[in-house]
């Protein structure tokens, strides 16, 4: 799957300092976010890993998982990639069974899916304050430096946007359990026992 990692080109100690600040801000309110189903699973500079679960549902489900990368922060905004919550491998768009909907200011009847990318491309979260948005050729006129000190792009902003635009209002889900293989195994065992 196509995904370009950024090289660290700014002073790593500055990035590390800013990364630690973001982490400590999150840690101060981590309990409140955990109650919403946002669980930090690993912090390993320059990455932070999250699982987004839906605790309101029974049984609670993992909706998606992300890795937020702070390479060159805040000369560059953080990168958000969607990963498997179990293996941490990148996933395709069709493996993220959640819509990230934003109302379209120009056309309220046509909401925008904020999770872009299809086929062999790693899906990316397409809002100002996220590296993939600012690096995309369609947004070359909307520089990160217009947002850098205004709040967009910090860790809690990104977490809030991932949550508010997707699972915040989820009330139900459908699960299909395929038992064909299990049935076949049982039938085989019955035959063997006979």
């Amino acid at each position: 799957m196509e995904y370009k990692e950024s090289l660290q080109i700014t002073d790593p100690s500055v990035t590390k300092n800013k990364f630690d600040t973001e982490v400590s801000k999150f840690k101060a309110v981590e309990v409140n976010y955990r109650e919403k189903g946002i669980i930090c699973t690993k912090i390993s500079f320059p990455n932070i890993f999250f699982i987004f679960a839906i605790p309101k549902l029974t049984p609670p489900v993992i909706a998606f998982s992300v890795r937020i990368n702070f390479t060159n922060y805040d000369f560059e905004p953080p990168s958000v990639v969607f990963i498997s919550p179990f293996t941490e491998e990148l996933v395709r768009r069709d493996q993220v069974p959640v819509l990230f909907i934003q109302l379209n200011k120009n056309n309220p009847f046509q909401p925008i899916d904020l999770l872009q990318g299809s086929g062999n491309m790693a899906p990316f979260f397409c809002i100002p304050g996220v590296r993939e948005y600012h690096n995309h050729p369609a947004h070359s006129g909307d520089s990160w430096f217009l947002y850098r000190t205004r709040g967009e792009g910090n860790l809690l902003f990104i977490i809030d946007q991932l949550y508010n635009n997707s699972i915040a209002t989820a009330k139900s889900f459908q699960a299909v359990l395929n038992l064909t293989e299990f049935k076949m195994q049982v039938q085989q065992e019955i035959k063997i026992n006979k």
């Binding site: 801000k25 925008i112 397409c126 709040g151 508010n164 915040a168 209002t169």
Partner: protein, 94 residues
């Protein structure tokens, strides 16, 4: 004790807990008859988030976006209520 006595004297004053972009703050002595945006503005001031207009913020409680023009008492917040303020995202999508 003193605080308890004060609360008994002024039953229409409550405290509200906000998390503004990750920073927790408590706005004291909120008059329940005031519109919610008054205490939202105080929470923004207390956390130093004054660079953005109040309209740039989403006010969320229990995963519902609140109308800040409504009175505080309309929402009947419990004592343990935590109200989240997060910046509205700019227009996304390609």
């Amino acid at each position: 004790m003193k605080e308890k006595e004060e609360n008994e004297k002024q039953p229409n004053l409550i405290s509200l807990t906000f998390i503004v972009n990750g920073t927790e703050t408590i706005v004291e002595k909120v008059n329940v008859n005031q519109p919610l945006h008054v205490s939202v503005q105080k929470a923004l001031d207390q956390t130093g988030n004054t660079a953005r207009l109040i309209g740039d913020w989403q006010v969320i409680y229990n995963d519902q976006t609140l109308d800040t023009n409504k009175k505080v008492e309309d929402y009947n917040f419990p004592k343990s209520a935590v109200i989240f303020l997060s910046l509205k995202a700019g227009q996304g999508g390609v």
